[in-house]
Amino acid sequence: MTDPLILFDLLLAGSIVALAVAVLSVRDLFTAIVVFIVFGLLSALAWARLAAPDVALAEAAIGTGVTGALLLKTLHHLRHFSDGQTQDAARDLTAVQPVPMGVTVANAAFCGLVALGLAVAFLGAPQAGPGFDALVSDAMPHSGVAHPVTAVLLNFRAYDTLMEVVVLLAAVIAVWQIERGLTEAPAPALGMVWAGFARLTLPAIVVIGTYLLWKGAEAPGGAFQGGAVLAAVGLLLLLSRLYVPQPSHRGLARWAFVLGTGVFAGVALLVTGGGRVAFQYPPEHAKTLILLIEGLVTISIAVTLAALFHGREPVALNAPESRHDT
C-alpha cells in the first residue's frame, strides 16, 4: 500500500531533475541562484522522504539558508565590483566564453564513464542487502549515545568527521589569506522592518540551533545541523550590522575557528594508551566526551560559516590600491 507515496515521489523526483537542468542551462546568474535555492529546498524534502532526517536537516539549513545568502552576496560583490569599473568589470567576470567542441566531447565522455561506473556498481551491489545496520546496532551499547547516526559520526567513524571539520578550518584560513579589509561603508540606520525581523527571529534561531545540538545524542540532529542553524544567527547579525567585525576581534575568532578541531583531535589523542587506540573513547565516558566534542564543534562550525559569509579578515588597511569594496 505505497500508491500515494509513489505519486509523491514521482512528482518530487521530476521536479528535482527539472530544477537541476534549469540551474545548469539558465544564463542569468540571479535566476540560477534562485533556482539553486529551490533545488536545495526540494532536496531537503527528498532526504526527508528517504528517511534520512539528519541529512534533510543539514540540507535545509545549509542548502537553502546559508548557501543562498552566500551566493547572493557573491553576486552582489561581482556587480558592485569597485567604484570605477562597476558594470564593465562585472561583465568581464561573468562573460561566458564558448567552450571548444573537444572539451565538450571529453567532458561528455568522462561523465558517461562515471555514470557507467555508478550503474555497474549499483547493479553489481547485493540487492536489499543488510548493509551495516546489524554492525551498528550491535555496537550501539558501547557508543555512549542513543542515536545511530551520531554514534557513527562521532564514534565509529570519528576520524572522517574530524577531517570534515578540518575542511571548514582550511576554507576559512584560505579566505582570510586572500581577502582582507574592513567594511568601509558607514553603517546606515536600520529600517523598522529590519529591526523587527532581527528581534523576532534571532532568539528563535538560537533556541532551535541549541535544541538540534542537544537532541543529537538520541534523535536526528547534532553538531553540523546545530552549527549550520547557529551560523544563520551570525549571518543575520552581519547582514543587519548589529555586529560589525573589528580588527580586535580576530584573536577571539581564531580561537573559535580552531576550537572544534583542536578539542576533537586532542580528545582523540588523549584517550589513547592503556590498550586503546586513537578515537577509542572509554565507554563509561563516551557520552560526556561526545557531547563535549559536539558542543565545541558546533561553535566552531557556526563561527566559521559566518566568517566565510563575511568573506574577509577584518584588518585595517591603509594601502590605497586596496580593491576591497562593500
Binding site: A60, A61, A189, A219, A232
Partner: protein, 113 residues
C-alpha cells in the same frame, strides 16, 4: 503506510507539491528578480507544509526539518533585499533601480552572460 488518514495526508502532500509547480514556473519565467525570489519563498513555505503533512507517514523527526526550513528559508530573502541595494542598507522602500519591477533582460544587465 497504515490507515486511511495517512494515505489522505500523503495525497494532500502530493497536492501541495503539485501546486509548487506553479511557483517553479514563476521562478523560471520571472520576469522581475523580486518575482523569482518571492516564488522561491513560496516553495519554502510549501515545503514546510509538505513536510508537516508527511510527518505521520515518515516519522516525527521530519517536523524538525520543517522547523529549520521555516526559520531559515527567509534568510535568502533577507540576503536578496540586502544585496539589491548598492549601499547594503536593505531598505525595501528605498528607490532602487535593481528592485524595480523591470525585466532583467532589458536592463543594462550585467548578469546576462
Amino acid at each position: 503506510m497504515s490507515g486511511w488518514l495517512e494515505v489522505w495526508l500523503v495525497l494532500c502532500a502530493a497536492g501541495v507539491l503539485a501546486t509548487l509547480g506553479a511557483a517553479l514556473w514563476r521562478v523560471w519565467r520571472g520576469p522581475a528578480r523580486a518575482d523569482r525570489m518571492m516564488a522561491a519563498q513560496l516553495v519554502g513555505t510549501g515545503g514546510v507544509a509538505v513536510l508537516m503533512l508527511l510527518a505521520p507517514a515518515q516519522g516525527w523527526a521530519v517536523l524538525d526539518v520543517a522547523l529549520v526550513l521555516a526559520m531559515l528559508a527567509a534568510l535568502a530573502a533577507v540576503g536578496f533585499v540586502k544585496s539589491s541595494t548598492p549601499d547594503g542598507a536593505g531598505d525595501p522602500e528605498e528607490d532602487d533601480p535593481e528592485l524595480a519591477m523591470t525585466d532583467p533582460d532589458t536592463r543594462s544587465g550585467s548578469d546576462a552572460g
